[in-house]
């Protein structure tokens, strides 16, 4: 996959996310212009970017184009935003998301997307057809007769042209003239379209006119690859034929009819309709918003020039020439002194008594920051996860390497009689040590993710499921910025989904039941997160019907999870914790979360496996709260794997000084003790098999010549640990042994290896 496509995929996912979130926000606040603009722009960008990959991604382009047009109509006030629209838009987004996955996996073919994209686009455009005032461009519908005001495309033609056309039409006996206005998208060239070529193919047009859509810009702003032209084509009775010709760009084409006047005198040409006041106000508001966007010094002149042109033209178009002197003065001030107050004061009165620009009109919808976004814009880097893992590995090796330095210092002091040098080395070591620890902690920090990573999928989940169940449920989230290690965040995702679904399915009651119980019709689910010390607390709260301790009591007893004494003796609070007991969730609880059975017991075991715990509180009739408590960072330790017989153990790497293989002949035995000499020093040895009480099994390495010795310093002095073989160093999450194993000496804990095996990590201090 080429780099451009990879970039597109990454960008596209972000855009889908943005539109998705925006649509949900828009459902709650339909008038929010800021959100509206944001999702329109995202959809527009998606359409444009996917347009670079034709014809493979034509389906995505078509679908996002339909979405963009629909959103455009909504933001222009032509259509009201409804939940039905949101449903189809979200469905479209989901589809595009699926296709993106296929593209990434290399499985995507354009033909697969063809049919669904056509269908979904049609459904989206159906909203437009219903709401449109102008005649629809649907080929089957006859073009509506012209309204009393003349179509703008017709009026754009020169008077003499119009007169000549009318005369010719009269002579030819046409009842009406059909005027096509073809306004190609600015980026149409990138789609490989040559509008002029298309227009050329119209058979015997009565007239063809080409003109720029807007007044020409300055040279610096003129981009030859942006299409700024529009085409007006007048035809007699070949309208259908021409519509066929333009079917692929039908959304860039509009038709109007002009009845052929039978009088000799040419029809009076009415003055051009004044531009809509609505558009004018919107333009002004947008200029105000632009003023709020921070810009650096070299952007300002361009911005002022562009605003100046926009405002001048807009004011002229509205016939408000009286405002021009004031505007010119304000623009001069903005240009020379970079002060925008007068410009702002120029615009504000023109807005008159239209509703003031609220926060929602700002392009940026970040509530926490001021509209001028004072420098808190977080700079985000996208980093490949593998690179972070590699950094962790390197840091681990650095930790081991630095452990040799005190040894060097000793040698300097004793063997080379340079206590001064030893001192210097130790000073150096303490600095390196500190830096290494800081580095390790910094890399750990990089692995921290905010819980919003998992929270963000819930609004959509809650919306879809509550609609499906016919319940009204609001989701509130708090504390999304709370951070925890990425491992923890990732592993929490499924349990949280399960908990929220529980509240959705079983917790919140349907509207009628709620009203009868005197509750609000809409239920509330709250996801909150906060930090307490070095723990992260996440709570899922709902105001549903709560858990009935009596039912739990009985169920648990029936399943044999508790005996009669417990059944009668446990408090209500203790009883409801039993929902986490394995065997409590029935096999009938079908989970549709990728087919895995996720019951409450899995929730608890996952959370405990991360070093945390989970508890539930509930009041019958009022609601429930599930509380997860987790460590912020995983206790990640680096261990070296060693083999002893068929078994593998882990030794904390910070205790390991070096590994060495020595010929057996170099090992001296004095009574019960074995020693060797390493670099002229006596090294006492201990055999791991003896320490662990394992019988001596032939060495795995089948090397009768040599012994593998791990030099360790659990107490500051070196000891050689004889093992069968060494293996690599790995990162593990050390978990204390509990239950029956907790009392065993010699083990620091256990860890789950990637292949599912359990690794026992040795506590050398206790063994030696």
């Amino acid at each position: 996959m080429n780099e451009l496509l990879a970039m597109f995929l990454s960008e596209a996912r972000d855009l889908l996310e943005e539109v998705s979130k925006g649509l949900l926000a828009l459902e709650e606040r339909p008038g929010d212009l800021g959100v509206m603009n944001r999702i329109f722009r995202a959809m527009h960008t998606l359409k444009g970017s996917s347009g670079l990959f034709q014809p493979q991604l034509a389906g995505i382009t078509r679908l996002s184009h339909a979405g963009e047009d629909l959103l455009d109509a909504v933001r222009n006030g032509h259509l009201e935003f409804t939940s039905d629209m949101a449903d189809i838009l979200l469905e479209g987004l989901d589809r595009i998301g699926l296709w993106l996955e296929e593209v990434e996996a290399g499985r995507f073919t354009a033909s697969v997307a063809e049919e669904p994209s056509n269908q979904l686009s049609a459904r989206l455009r159906a909203f437009l057809a219903k709401g449109r005032q102008e005649p629809p461009t649907d080929q089957d519908k006859p073009v509506a007769p012209a309204a009393t005001t003349e179509p703008p495309a017709w009026s754009a033609l020169a008077k003499e042209t119009r007169q000549a056309l009318m005369a010719a039409a009269r002579q030819a006996g046409h009842a009406q003239l059909h005027v096509m206005l073809y306004t190609p998208e600015p980026d149409t060239f990138f789609f490989g379209t040559d509008p002029l070529h298309l227009v050329r193919q119209v058979p015997d047009p009565l007239h063809v006119h080409v003109e720029p859509v807007d007044p020409w810009p300055n040279r610096e702003d003129f981009d030859p690859f942006q299409c700024r032209l529009r085409f007006i084509v007048v035809v007699g009775d070949q309208q259908e034929e021409v519509q066929q010709l333009f079917r692929y760009v039908e959304n860039e084409v509009s038709w109007a009819s002009v009845p052929v006047q039978q009088d000799i005198a040419p029809p009076p040409i009415p003055a051009a309709a004044p531009p809509s006041r609505e558009a004018f106000l919107r333009l002004l508001r947008e200029q105000l918003t632009i003023l709020d966007i921070p810009a650096n010094a070299d952007e300002l002149p361009g911005r002022v020039a562009s605003m100046g042109r926009v405002l001048t033209n807009a004011i002229r178009a509205m016939g408000l020439h009286g405002e021009l002197p004031l505007l010119d003065k304000a623009l001069a001030e903005a240009r020379s002194q970079h002060r925008f107050e007068s410009l702002r004061n120029c615009i504000l009165p023109l807005l008159g008594d239209s509703p003031p620009a609220t926060q929602g009109d700002a392009f940026d919808d970040r509530p926490a920051e001021g509209a001028s976004g004072n420098g808190r814009a977080a700079k985000i880097l996208k980093v490949d996860q593998g690179r972070i893992d590699r950094m962790m590995d390197l840091v681990g090796e650095l930790v081991v390497a630095k452990n040799s330095v005190p040894f060097l210092a000793e040698r300097a002091a004793i063997h080379h009689a340079s206590p001064g040098l030893a001192q210097e080395i130790m000073e150096f070591y303490s600095m390196i040590n500190r830096l290494t620890e800081d580095l390790q902690s910094a890399v750990m920090q990089v692995r921290m993710l905010p819980v919003s990573t998992i929270f963000q999928r819930f609004p959509r989940l809650v919306r879809d499921i509550s609609r499906k169940l016919g319940k009204h449920i609001t989701l509130k989230t708090e504390g999304e910025e709370t951070e925890a290690d990425k491992n923890i965040i990732e592993l929490l995702s499924d349990p949280l989904i399960h908990l929220v679904r529980n509240s959705l399915d079983h917790g919140i009651e349907d509207p009628e039941t709620r009203i009868q119980a005197g509750k609000s019709e809409a239920g509330l689910i709250r996801l909150s997160s906060r930090q307490e010390g070095d723990r992260v607390i996440i709570e899922v709260t709902d105001d549903g019907k709560g858990i009935d301790p009596e039912i739990i009591r009985r169920k648990a007893w029936e399943k044999g999870l508790i005996d009669e004494q417990a059944r009668d003796g446990l408090t209500d609070h203790e009883v409801i914790q039993l929902i986490f007991a394995p065997g409590f969730s029935t096999a009938q609880e079908v989970s549709d979360l990728s087919g895995r059975g996720v019951g409450m017991d899995v929730v608890r075991s996952t959370v405990q496996g991360l070093g945390g715990d989970v508890a539930v509180e509930s009041t019958l009739g009022k609601g429930s709260r599930v509380r997860l408590e987790l460590p912020m960072t995983m206790a990640i330790s680096r261990v070296m794997l060693v083999h002893e017989g068929p078994m593998v153990f882990g030794i904390p790497l910070e205790l390991v000084v070096e590994t060495v293989r020595l010929p057996r002949t170099q090992i001296h035995r004095v009574k019960e003790e074995e020693t060797t000499v390493l670099r002229n020093r006596l090294l006492p040895l201990a055999r791991l098999s003896d320490l662990l009480g394992l019988s001596r099994v032939p060495s795995r390495r089948e090397d009768p010549e040599n012994e593998s010795i791990l030099v360790v310093r659990p107490f500051g002095e070196e000891i050689g640990l004889v093992v069968d073989d060494f293996d690599k160093g790995i990162d593990i999450v050390l978990k204390p042994l509990d239950g029956v194993l907790a009392g065993l000496k010699g083990y620091a804990g256990g860890a789950l290896l990637g292949d599912g095996r359990v690794l026992l990590v040795l506590n050398l201090k206790e063994l030696l």
């Binding site: 060239f189 080409v210 007044p215 020409w216 030859p224 690859f225």
Partner: protein, 84 residues
Amino acid sequence: MPVTFEDGRATFTGECVIEEAEGLLAWLYEHPEGLVDVTACTHLHTAILQALLFCFPHQAGPPQDPFLARWLWPLLTKSRTGQV
């Protein structure tokens, strides 16, 4: 065929494609008094047309191609208002 530039004259021959647009525009900026010759042109891409409408250079003569002659020639030569 590509547009050829020689002695202050830009000559279009046959079909002129979008890739020519940038080069043509640069030449037009540098030669405001230059002459554009579309007589042998059979088709030009919209981007080329756009560049010509934007710069509005002197024209050597009408194109022989009927479509271009009938509909575009008037636009390339009539006086316009509104150009910056």
